[in-house]
């Protein structure tokens, strides 16, 4: 009797399993067929993306216009941070992973395809009471690594330097580390705030403070420094004179297809790049001379 019951149960479970497989199989094949064959006309489905919070303000307007263009597409974009994005796209839980940083070594063999969609720049800012308006890259590096701890060593008043910046897991910090510190480590003797907005606020209220933020966040409550006598402008970055920038990446697992490809193409299109991108303080990717 018990044996009989068991076999019945097994049969039930088995048929359910087969059923789901068939179902899922059908769904998948239909989707890929639709994506490849009909191009523009039949772009439909769901796009999921997650990752960098710095790219979120840029992708939100892209999502809205894209969805109104193709009403059969739903785009979901979540934050979570650059590493979350790369992690989730690598294990297949989202289709697009947004990131401020290049792929770290441990993701290199996951078959991720890089799409550089925008240029993000970073500026160094100080408290308003500082008379310094220009530092050389070497000076900035020495301040960030803790070799210079007083403003008088870079031509300012006799005042201690307070470094206020981002956490070890931040994409902004990784970029400054790559472009300015070049392999050396930040000093731990610093105050860490966990967003661009908080860094600006803390620097504005702390005498002798210095730090860095994404360029759009630097407002008139703080001084923005020139580097090697080059004032930060979008043009200076494009001309290659201002070195502190990184690319905003959208990673896909394998080449993008169907709706996902259409969405990334839209973000990289002149239509989007020349309007929203500049408005939000990023630099359009098509203006950048690719290395």
């Amino acid at each position: 009797m018990i044996f009989l019951r068991k076999t019945k149960l097994m049969a039930l479970v088995g048929s359910l399993l087969v059923g789901t497989m068939v179902f899922a199989g059908c769904g998948a094949s239909q989707q890929s067929a639709g994506g490849n064959d009909k191009k523009e006309a039949a772009i439909e489905g769901k796009i999921s993306a997650s990752g960098s919070t710095a790219l979120l303000p840029l992708l939100k307007p892209a999502q809205e216009t894209f969805q109104s263009k193709y009403d059969k597409v739903t785009v979901n974009i979540a934050g979570g941070g650059s590493f979350t994005g790369m992690n989730q796209v690598a294990d297949g839980s989202v289709q697009i992973g947004n990131s401020d940083v290049d792929l770290p070594a441990e993701y290199k063999d996951k078959g991720l395809v890089d799409h550089k969609v925008v240029v993000e720049t970073f500026v160094f800012i100080t408290n308003k009471d500082s008379k310094i308006s220009n530092l050389t890259l070497a000076q900035v590096k020495d301040i960030m690594t803790g070799k210079i701890t007083n403003w008088k060593d870079v031509g300012g008043d006799d005042q201690a330097i307070t470094l206020i910046h981002r956490a070890k897991s931040s994409g902004s910090r990784a970029t400054v580390s790559d472009t300015v510190l070049k392999g050396e480590n930040f000093t731990d003797n610093a105050i860490i705030q966990d967003s661009n907005g908080a860094v600006v606020k803390a620097i504005a209220s702390t005498p002798g403070a210095i730090g860095y933020v994404d360029a759009p966040y630097a407002n008139d409550t703080v001084n923005t420094l020139s580097l090697d006598s080059v004032k930060y402008t979008a043009q200076a970055v494009i001309d290659g004179k201002y070195p502190v920038y990184s690319y905003g990446h959208m990673y896909t697992k394998g080449e993008a297809t169907g709706a996902v490809k259409a969405f990334i193409d839209y973000v990289m299109s002149d239509e989007f790049q020349n309007t929203e991108v500049e408005k939000l303080g990023f630099i359009p990717i098509n203006k950048m001379k690719q290395k």
Binding site: T53, G79, G80, G81, S82, F83, T84, M86, N87, A160, T162, I164, A167, K168, S169, S170, G171, N185, D188, N189, A190, I191, I192, Q193, D194, A198, K201, A202, S205, T206, P207, G208, A209
Partner: protein, 296 residues
């Protein structure tokens, strides 16, 4: 006759089955709690497959990108901040409770008690923000230090946040001291101050200790306000004004960009697990204190 019978039957039925509802709720609750503890513990202990326990607990070099996982500065930071908060908050809270329970006239008490309970409800981010805008600049100018971020700023704000816990539990303890004790003391010729100092407060000690331990549990777990005021840098504190980190602040600052399942992510879970164990220890402590009864 028939109708009554029906009603009675229904009530009996209700009686029989309602107990399963309670059992189900209890089981669900315990299941949830245990699965959280299990998940955090499992994920946290995975750290030790890549990091040695002695490195995690006894060094303070925290640089996960370079494979250094020393969490000592966070553990020490959590303990120092909590101690500072208790040192400032406990005397204030106990005196406040004595005033409220035994000295204040009834009408004042009727205002103070609801007010105390009310300020538990202020969100911690509000405390943090006020601390950031008012306290940090004040400390910086008053003590002439660099930034003002650090243990004292976080501890002082925490001290205010734990006051309601200390006041209301100590108040209950003081008021439940039997009236005859107080009357006997006064009848023997003790002044009111002597009665307070030698009879009432000692008699209420277990309750007051419970209040302090509960306040410590709240202080060590507080995240938002501390994160805004501590400075968040993985450096062992060398003074009350040097920026440092706590377990909670480091978790909240780093979790967003940390890949789940990596040694880095696991070590954050381990910090959460350490916090959980500390809280658990405190709860056990409270139960022991509670059992002692009146220390007269």
């Amino acid at each position: 006759m028939y109708k009554q019978d029906q009603q009675h039957k229904r009530k009996m039925l209700y009686d029989r089955y309602v107990k399963y509802l309670f059992i189900a709720s209890a089981v669900l609750m315990s299941l949830l709690i245990f699965s959280i503890v299990f998940f955090v513990g499992k994920q946290g202990l995975l750290t030790f497959t890549q990091v040695s326990p002695s490195e995690f607990f006894f060094t303070s070099h925290w640089d996960p990108m370079e494979k250094h996982f020393g969490a000592l500065s966070f553990i020490a930071g959590s303990i120092f901040v909590t101690m500072t908060a208790i040192l400032i908050g406990a005397p204030l809270g106990i005196l406040g409770a004595v005033f409220m329970a035994k000295v204040a006239p009834k009408w004042l008490r009727n205002i103070m008690r609801p007010a105390t309970d009310l300020y538990v409800a202020i969100p911690s981010v509000v405390y943090g923000y006020v601390g950031l805008v008012l306290l940090v600049p004040f400390l910086r100018e008053f003590f002439g230090v660099n930034s003002g971020f650090g243990i004292l700023a976080a501890g002082a704000v925490l001290a205010i946040m734990i006051l309601p816990t200390i006041i209301s539990i100590s108040d209950d303890a003081l008021r439940s001291v039997p009236q005859p004790l107080e009357e006997a003391s006064l009848a023997l010729g003790a002044t009111y101050w002597q009665t307070l100092y030698h009879v009432l407060v000692p008699a209420a000690t277990p309750g007051i200790l419970t209040a302090i331990v509960m306040a410590m549990a709240r202080a060590i777990g507080e995240t938002m306000a501390v994160q805004m005021l501590i400075g968040n840098t993985p450096l062992l504190a060398i003074s009350m004004f040097s920026p440092t980190s706590t377990l909670t602040s480091n978790i909240v600052v780093e979790m967003g960009n940390t890949p789940f399942g990596s040694a880095w992510g696991n070590s954050l879970f381990l910090m959460a697990f350490v916090l959980l164990l500390i809280s658990l220890g405190m709860i056990l402590l409270i139960r022991r204190i509670g059992k002692r009864g009146y220390a007269v």
